[in-house]
């Protein structure tokens, strides 16, 4: 029988620990497929975060570092400065990148580090059990905002992509989603574009991907996908914020 589909070589055979319905698996696969298709996999070095994707170093089939919480862009900087010709990426969640790691992500962008950051935004701390993140929506209930996030108490959700898009060194910034097949395909195209920008040495690149957390949102996987569409996308609009080819910038 002819082979019509094969798992990407970009992922190992290790079974992932992700919850049912979590979209980390889709995003892992997209990153891995792009690296394989662009023939970058064997020359790639990735950096895993602290958070749900903490074990990503077991899943990506390339050299990997496990970083301290929020520090992945600094670790990736150290790697890229040693090996400018290698493809270096960091994979981070919203607690990691948008809370404890704000200094590291802002300054990696500010220096125009030629790394690619995959930023998975599911508006909550997943691994620790559903606490409020800087990205948690107003009114969204979490274990540390039991009555729903209030602006007067915890501020408004942080739009990281818009913030980073104001920085000169940020060559490519795009926000995508994986809530339906079309969005998944657009996400893959954005990831490919981000790695291309790195390959060309044009500067810092990041794809923010809206993701789900059925476990901590207390929803079914299908309802979670719908919630991304109904609640997250209106606050976190999808689209490109910065691209060196189109000279798209705020």
């Amino acid at each position: 029988m002819p082979v019509v589909f094969e798992k990407t070589r970009g992922l190992t055979d290790v079974e992932t620990h992700y919850c049912p319905g979590c979209t980390h698996g889709i995003i892992h696969r997209l990153v891995a497929e792009v690296l394989e298709e662009m023939e970058l996999l064997d020359a790639s070095i990735g950096v895993a975060p602290v958070g749900c994707a903490v074990l990503a170093y077991k899943y990506f089939n390339c050299d990997m570092h496990e970083a301290a919480h929020g520090r992945a862009p600094a670790v990736a900087t150290g790697i890229k400065r040693v090996f400018p010709d290698r493809t270096v990426f960091a994979y981070q969640g919203d607690g990691d990148l948008a809370s404890i790691g704000t200094a590291e992500i802002v300054h990696a962008a500010h220096r125009g580090e030629k790394i690619t950051v995959i930023f998975v935004n599911n508006a909550i701390y997943g691994m620790t059990g559903g606490q409020m993140a800087p990205t948690t929506l107003l009114g969204q209930k979490t274990t540390t905002s039991p009555l729903g996030r209030e602006r007067s108490h915890a501020g408004s959700p942080l739009r990281v992509s818009e913030m980073l898009a104001t920085i000169d060194g940020a060559a490519f910034i795009e926000r995508t989603s994986v809530h339906d097949p079309q969005a998944v395909r657009k996400t893959k195209a954005a990831i490919r574009r981000a790695f291309t920008v790195q390959q060309k040495g044009l500067g810092f690149s990041m794809v923010e991907i809206l993701s789900t957390c059925p476990t901590n949102w207390g929803m079914t996987p299908v309802d979670s996908l719908q919630w991304v569409q109904d609640h997250m996308i209106p606050y976190y609009p999808l689209g490109n914020l910065r691209d060196p080819e189109t000279e798209n910038r705020p």
Binding site: T12, D42, A43, S44, I45, V47, V54, L55, Y57, K58, F60, N61, C62, D63, M64, H65, E66, A67, A68, R71, A74, V75, A76, T77, G78, I79, K80, R81, V82, F83, R86, A103, E104, V106, H107, H110
Partner: protein
Amino acid sequence: MEASSEKVLMKGNEAVGAAAIRGGCRYFFGYPITPQNELPEYMARELPRVGGVFLQAESEIAAINMVYGAAGCGVRVMTSSSSPGIALKQEGISYIAGAELPCVIVNMMRGGPGLGGIQPGQADYFQATRGGGNGDYRHIVYAPASVQETADLMTEAFDVADLYRIPVMVLGDGMIGQMMEPVELRDAPHRDLPPKDWATTGTEGRRTPNIINSLYLQPQDLEDHNIRLARKHAVIEEREVRYESYRTDDAKLVFVSYGTASRIVRNAVEMLRQEGENVGMIRPITLWPWPQSAFDELGSSVRAVMAVEMSMGQMIDDVKIAAAGRWPVGFYGRSGGMIPDQHAIAGAARTMLEEVV
């Protein structure tokens, strides 16, 4: 040691930079803080000339994590800071020790706690030797007492870090960093070093992925890891201890002092000897591994031991452990950037001798 060239007059901080480059260091990540700024400034100027990279990070935290990234790639890399900045690096140092990466960290100590002051101090002894970060780890700590010794240890530190896959800290202070002394840059004694086949260099499709990591979710795996680290620490304790015993042969009182304080103690020893008092000094050069053997070698003439530090008393804990009740342990210290005076040290020693003899 293979001597190279001529003696030059250098500031301690610059000598550290020159010695690091001689030791093969090609990557430096740091953040400005007094009193060690001449070192990153030297590296910013000199590293590009030898094909290396200097990068000023956004914080000490970012700098040590850049070191983690670069060290994982198998290159010789360092960072430097001073006391409060080293406090910020502790998370990263723990990760580097946990992931068994080689690197060199320089701390030119100033007074603390908190923002403290900018004058020389030795109040980071606990931080340096007790693991300022979390977990069951150790790292080597060199405590040089002159610019020459700082340069020699700095060059050698990169070999030692590579040999044991462990962070090595060179613990100076504002005095060592700022003063100028003649220094001759020399190669370290040869050591056979293992290949860095663990480094993340890109697999090139020729091997399975290398992973730089300190996470072990299964308790048995983590304990096994820690047992392995402890065995490595035991080897280091056996092989890498360094100290100087100065005029201890017939000493009734033995000072214990390191770094800048030990230079003043040496003067106090000379002064007391001229007065006919038999005193000497143990000068630990490695603070970890701690030179227990220096104490075990002391003869029957010894009646008292006295720790002299530029702190309110930190190393004295190790001195008491080393003394193990064999001798009373006294203390003289100045803190906050105040420099001990040899007459005051001698006075404290006379008082103690009167009490115990």
